[in-house]
Symmetry: C2
Subunit: 353 residues, 2 copies
DNA sequence: ATGAAAGCGCTAACAA
DNA sequence: TTGTTAGCGCTTTCAT
């Protein structure tokens, strides 16, 4: 197999500890000794076996990130940001995708990788509170997305309701009055989707405008195709919205495609606002106005939260079964870490009619 | 810390080995014993410490995938495919991005993760042959992309020249004669970019059409913005191509944006073909004709290649320094594994003029 | 069918 | 400043 400390020690004629000292550049090593050992290291091409180090130290320097789907640019971009943020703290990232399936999310949240990862950042779609409550694994977990449950895990989110209201307010400011919401998935739970719908409704109501269910288009997912379907469904059902607020940019892109097919011009006939600010929205035939969550900050907060949990107290909680019924003593309740967002105005809502 | 085999053994009143047998569901365990041990496992919430298992077994079940940029949908989609392919073989994937920087690529290829990963799949941009030649690390490496060097590593690719010729032939079949190539990055090495340029030139020449350098637009990268810039540059330089073959879909998208701004209609005035078949191309105002590499197959071939290398011979090669000068004896020369591609025709090349 | 003990490669006490 | 030793949690002979 590989070259070990012992091999190096043998060649250099020193003890294993001395080699270890050099490898970890411990202070008190004479330059002469350091040089001698280094020579042996170079000659043998020694590389420290991190697995062994991990076992010994009880930590691996690996974080896991589980997102629904890497094909969704928002998550791909977010994953990139997380990898960067983790690298800044000398952590590397193991990536998983859950397809937004509850089954997968539970599996991941149970930490099925048994101690290979120091912490987990999970972006749940269908996960329920109870799924986490029975969680026995003690490695730090942080959730991406609005605080849905009262559990002892931090979660990172932007204020979805406020962001949606901001988007809708922008449309109202443009003089639009028949503003549709695209992406109300009905068959399954998705908290952000509901919150964005709520924001839509609240802002319309606040402005004294109607918020009829007929202007709410359900989708079965949140991809471009779903957006196209929803838009087509809405138009086919006889609605003629003068603006569309979409669950996310992908849905918006799909909707714009259908609008173009139907001869409706964006932004003149229908203004469109998306959510996520993916790169794609900056380059279409009509660039997309969108709610832009601060992905760097989300990533940074998430990474710092898991790492914080690593060094924090109560690492051993949840180990013994009878602990489970106790009030989690020193465990701080999950914090809500809020990242910023801003509305990026582009062509899809450019100017008044 | 965590619950160990010993703890379970203690509670169940059996030896550590027996618990291990149950955990690994070894054949010869009496049902009664199995039940008893399982009870103890459940009670303590025991989860095997994989790090320890890894140390003992000498392998971790983790593969690394290094791509230039996750923000590029092609790589994001490919990464998703690799994760799936790896999962089928019970491997998980550690993700890295190199930003296409040589420095980063070298770092990754040296396997700086010392034995935490069993193998590496690297999609290089700037990496040079020499960078790999000095590679001492012995974990299996497979390269994504055309065979550039004569090194003992497998590489997975599609036939870039053939694919480009196919794309250009399609444009010629449409009656186009002034076909531009967008994405000839000049300042740095990028093999695929050069091969695609070559394919463009070969096919034009074969058809008896001119392939003037004036129809070749350089870019500094391969993102949407680069495509837009290149297209603008080409038009500003007085060229009026009737078709564009772009290095990839992102460049094509950027180009289409500029064409629209200039009042040129796709496909009537200018037909456009991209490369990669990213989801984005299926939903723009004008859907994009593109060369579609079989990503699933690429992923599968890559994963099988690294895993194959894991079980193959010569695992210990490169360990002793004087081996380095030897002809790598049993080491098979790197194979060239070719994945399929197909041309997907969409609106951007729909019909003749 | 189950147990005892060695050891994967490393770090961290403790000694010298 | 350097060496010795125990042990992280697991698998794996070898016994029984």
């Amino acid at each position: 197999m590989g070259v070990s400390l012992k091999d190096v020690a043998g060649l250099a004629g020193v003890s294993i500890k001395t080699v270890s000292n050099v490898v970890n550049n411990y202070q008190h090593v004479t330059p002469a000794m350091r040089a001698r050992v280094q020579a042996a290291i170079d000659e043998l091409g020694y590389v420290p076996n991190l697995t062994a180090r991990h076992l010994r130290k009880g930590r691996t320097g690996i974080l896991a990130l589980a997102v629904p789907e890497l094909g969704n640019p928002y998550f791909a971009e977010l994953a990139g940001a997380v990898i960067d943020a983790a690298a800044e703290h000398d952590y590397t990232v193991l990536l998983d995708h859950t397809r937004g399936e509850r089954e997968q999310e539970i599996l991941v949240s149970q930490g099925f990788r048994g101690r290979v990862i120091d912490g987990l950042i999970l972006s749940p779609i269908e996960l329920e509170a109870e799924d986490l409550r029975s969680r026995s694994h003690d490695s730090p977990l942080v959730l991406l997305g609005e605080r849905e449950y009262d559990l002892p895990y931090d979660h990172i989110a932007i204020d979805n309701v406020a962001a949606s209201r901001r988007a809708v307010r922008h449309l109202i400011g443009l003089g639009r009055t028949r503003i549709a919401y695209l992406g109300a998935r009905t068959d399954r739970i998705n908290f952000p989707a509901q919150l964005r719908l709520r924001g839509w409704r609240e802002e319309l109501t606040a402005a004294g405008l109607p918020a009829p269910d007929t202007l709410v288009a359900p989708t079965s997912g949140w991809d471009r195709g779903d957006g196209a379907q929803a838009m087509a469904w809405l138009l086919d059902s006889g609605q003629r919205p003068d603006a569309v607020f979409a669950y996310n940019d992908l849905v918006a892109v799909g909707a714009m495609r259908v609008l173009a097919e139907r001869g409706l011009r964006v932004p003149w006939d229908v203004a469109v606002v998306g959510f996520d600010d993916i790169a794609e929205g900056r380059f279409g035939a009509v660039t997309l106005t969108t709610v832009s969550p601060d992905k760097q900050s989300i990533a940074r907060l998430a990474v710092e939260s898991v790492i914080g949990g690593l060094q924090g107290p109560e690492k051993g909680a949840g180990t013994s079964p009878d602990r489970r019924s106790e009030q989690p003593a020193g465990t701080p309740a999950g914090r809500e870490l809020i990242a910023e967002f801003r509305l990026v105005e582009r062509e899809s809502t450019l100017g008044r009619r």
